[in-house]
């Protein structure tokens, strides 16, 4: 059996990759947890997707940064959390497939309409109660109204996934913004409502206590800044004599 060495630094090196792979296993187990959560009516309506890899996470992060400049009040949330998306080991997206098109019909009255789901039917193109899902145009970030009871149901799914993460002692945090961006990019494409969970197995869980202006002041940007300032570290190339002609330190 070969030795498997795992280190959390430097990022995306083979030793770091081993660690990240374990986080993927955790994400898969978390998804199973999500599927066994308490369920309204016992109907299948949960969908999950695991996003893993530098490029894939970067794509979602960029989308979040794009959305940040479409909102006023939550701009900082989108920007901060985009950094977290780049930083985490893996993303687990959990969506509800029925919230858009098949409301609960449980007389619950949780949404803004009457307790017969008519609020959803009235706001959709539909025929005989079957809602047209092909019209995906929307003026808002999410094409509402969504079934409120199923949104609550999604909470159960996400909660169970997060509970599995605590059982595995792995850091996980749910994000609204990640779900919004992922939905735009076509992840969990049957779901109108997605929550993204960032999963991370590092000594410092940055998403839990970000610095001020976290989209600027974070570890990656900090290190990058230092790399750019090699001059200040005394790493600049020696000038003057050619080292091939002899050690430049030695005085001639």
């Amino acid at each position: 059996m070969p030795r498997i060495t795992i280190r959390d630094w430097p990022p995306y090196s083979p030793t770091d990759q081993q660690r990240r792979d374990n986080a993927v296993i955790a994400a898969k187990l978390m998804m199973n947890g999500a599927l066994t959560a308490p369920s309204i009516g016992g109907i299948a309506m949960t969908e999950g997707e695991i996003v893993y890899g530098e490029e894939e996470q970067e794509e979602i992060a960029r989308k979040m940064e794009e959305l940040a400049y479409e909102t006023e009040s939550q701009r900082h949330a989108f920007l901060y959390e985009a950094v977290m998306v780049r930083r985490v080991d893996v993303l687990l997206l959990i969506g509800n497939t029925r919230a858009y098109s098949d409301p609960w019909d449980g007389e619950c009255g949780l949404c803004a309409g009457r307790p017969d789901c008519s609020f959803i039917y009235e706001n959709r193109k539909q025929s005989t109660g079957i809602i047209d899902q092909t019209d995906r145009r929307s003026e808002t970030l999410v094409k509402g109204p969504l079934c409120a009871a199923y949104a609550h149901q999604l909470g159960y799914n996400v909660g169970s996934a997060l509970m599995v993460a605590t059982h595995l002692y792995i850091d996980a945090r749910p994000f609204i913004t990640v779900g919004l961006a992922a939905q735009k990019l076509g992840y969990c494409r049957n779901s109108a409502l997605i929550i993204g969970i960032g999963i991370s197995a590092t000594p410092k869980c940055e998403p839990s206590d970000p610095a001020l202006d976290y989209h600027l002041v974070n570890l990656e940007r900090g290190i990058d800044k230092i790399r750019g300032n090699v001059n200040q570290l005394g790493l600049r190339p020696t000038t003057g004599s050619d080292y091939r002609l002899g050690d430049p330190r030695e005085k001639r």
Partner: protein, 770 residues
Amino acid sequence: MSKYDGNQFAHEGLLHVAQHCAQAALHAPQLTGKTEIKMEILTGKDLEDFFTVQREANQRGAVLSGETYRVAYDLGRPPVLLLIGANATPEVKAPCQAACPLGIDVPRYIRLIGDGKYDQAAAVIREKLPLASICARICHAPCETKCRRGTLRDHPIAILALKRFAMDVTSNQKSSSSMNRLTGKRVAIIGSGPAGLTAAYYLRKVCGHEVTIFEAFPEPGGMLRTGVPPYRLPREILDREIDEIKGVGVEIKLNTRIESLDPLFEQGYHAIFVATGAHLPTPLGIEGENLPGVIEGLSFLRDMNSGKEVKVGEKVVVLGGGNVAVDAARVALRVGAKEVVILYRRSMREMLAHRANIEHAQREGVKIEFLISPVKIERKEGLEVRCIRTQLGPQDSTGRASPVPIPGSEFSIPADTVIIAVGQSVHVPHHFGLKLREGGMIQVDETTLSTSKEGVFAGGDAVSGPTSFIEAVAAGRKAASWIDQYLGGLGIIDEFLAPHEEMPDPSRSQELLTLAGEAPQRPTIPVLSKEQALAGFAEVELGLSEKVSLIETTRCLKCNEVGFNCGACGFKTCREAVIFSQNRYRETGGEPWGWLMKGPSCIWRLTEFGIAVDWAAAAAHRYNIESRVAMIPGTAFMRMGYLPECNMIVVVPLGPCKERWYFEPSSGREDFRSFAATRRGQMLQFSPLWIRFTGPGRDFPRRGMKTKDEWWKPPYEHLEIVRDDEWGNSILDRDYALFVAADKIRQNNKMKRLNLPKIKEVLDAKKSHP
């Protein structure tokens, strides 16, 4: 050795697990961070109320599940229920609103001012507060202390000034004078201060009782008139608001000192509210405080406010740090003093006087010396106050740092007049026969404000000791509600004065933002110049102009909105959702129709709440304890008044709670199995199963399908098919049945009652009548 009771042991174990589950819900990860979770653990006899509601509501046609709990209870194994509730409406309770003892909806009136709807903004304030213009001048504004902009690196919104602006521009408008029919009950109120006036207003206007206020002084207003000088509260404002209260039918008998309560009952009053306030000066307890030239602050203010001539010497020393002390100093400057010094034994931070009052005093020339404590007052050529310097020590019983004298630091300050204003205490006439607590304050039941004497209630400073205006008003409201219940009413004193709000015009808020510019600052409140102020008793603060007020509204962070503006709930912006939610809640006084829960909800807050519920349920599994998540019984608890302010309550029953566990086969539970409905592929798990083909688009008639088609009937015994135009009349009846049953429980448990007539009216209006 007593017999080992395994059942009891197991039950206690479940209670412990319930606490762990509750902890798990509190520690669950959050999404918006704005969803407050409330929980309650119920078991044993506490469940009986639920069973009563369940039985009565089901007899009236409701279908309220959770029968298994009752069966288990009857078997001697009461389940442990963890109730988890959250307010997941689009409207978040803002810190400013939470800080207000009256719960005035601050973000709402700020929003309405911004929209230019000043009369509606004023109505929102008046809904909770009949003395709104007074409040806008003298409130100590706990809302501003908690304003989130203030807790960030900025100054809080000028909430008080905005309130004053709204009240000033609508001052000529009368509040609506709709009055209930008289109930025939009579209430006597002793004291016409803020607590008494407020209670009188609601008891007469909303509850319809005949109210008489007895006031010992020649003019009504209590401490508002005797203690607050006109430069802070102009008398025309005070008179106008008292006149409005008189206008709803309250009688005020002046110059009538009540020494005993029994004669009032003999005169035919059915209930008495004692709101006599705290008018007795606290003695300083030092040598020389009775010397000529030493006067007491409150009586000094009272004399001045009642038009008597008051005289002070050229140099005045005021002892104390409250509003009375600061006002006495400001008045002294106005009646001839050349130099006024306030001596306070703690620091500025510990002063009880309002910050604005202190600032105005200093601007007018009052000097305030801190960390100085008087030791004695002597008469030499003039008066001389012997003082000692102090330093701040550990916290005392008031929660403030205690002043510790520094030995050897004594010194003297000469004065012509010394004013002592170190606090007031309560004096309740002995013949009232009320049980008092320490400090001479009246002892009351904290929930109902009832005293030791049947039919007598008390509130305000007479109960709490000297506090603020707004707390006295809150006590008046509470008293009115409980006196009404005592007299057989519902105790509902909520008024809804503001009309349904229209959706905002987005271009207006854009214009406002342009007007406000990049970074608007908290405005400085304009005031009279020092010379103008000292020339008389004209109001010193002048109020904000319209433009400044409008700009100030743009600084509001709108903490009452979730703020994603995502559209998931069906509204384009959070603001629209909040407005819709507020309009809807006001329809029935906070209890909207809806079978399970109270909508509308924010999608994200509901998801967030779901995570918490799931964690609670999952935590039980760590202890190998079964748990479920049940929504339907939660409705009953909500209607019964558990976990107030939650729009959704979920029950997490703990222990062996699967229905199958309780019921052996053929125990009559067959009809309660979960049941699949094939249409739209759905499965509904509660029974009897009600499927309704309702709402637009479910166009069976157009497709030639009759709604009473035979093929639906067998084997679906309980299937109810309702025509499009008769949707849910039966649901509304069932809903009302639940309200009725729950209201009885509320009454028994001394909780806030449901407004059943109003709820019935709303539900009936929603019925369709073919």
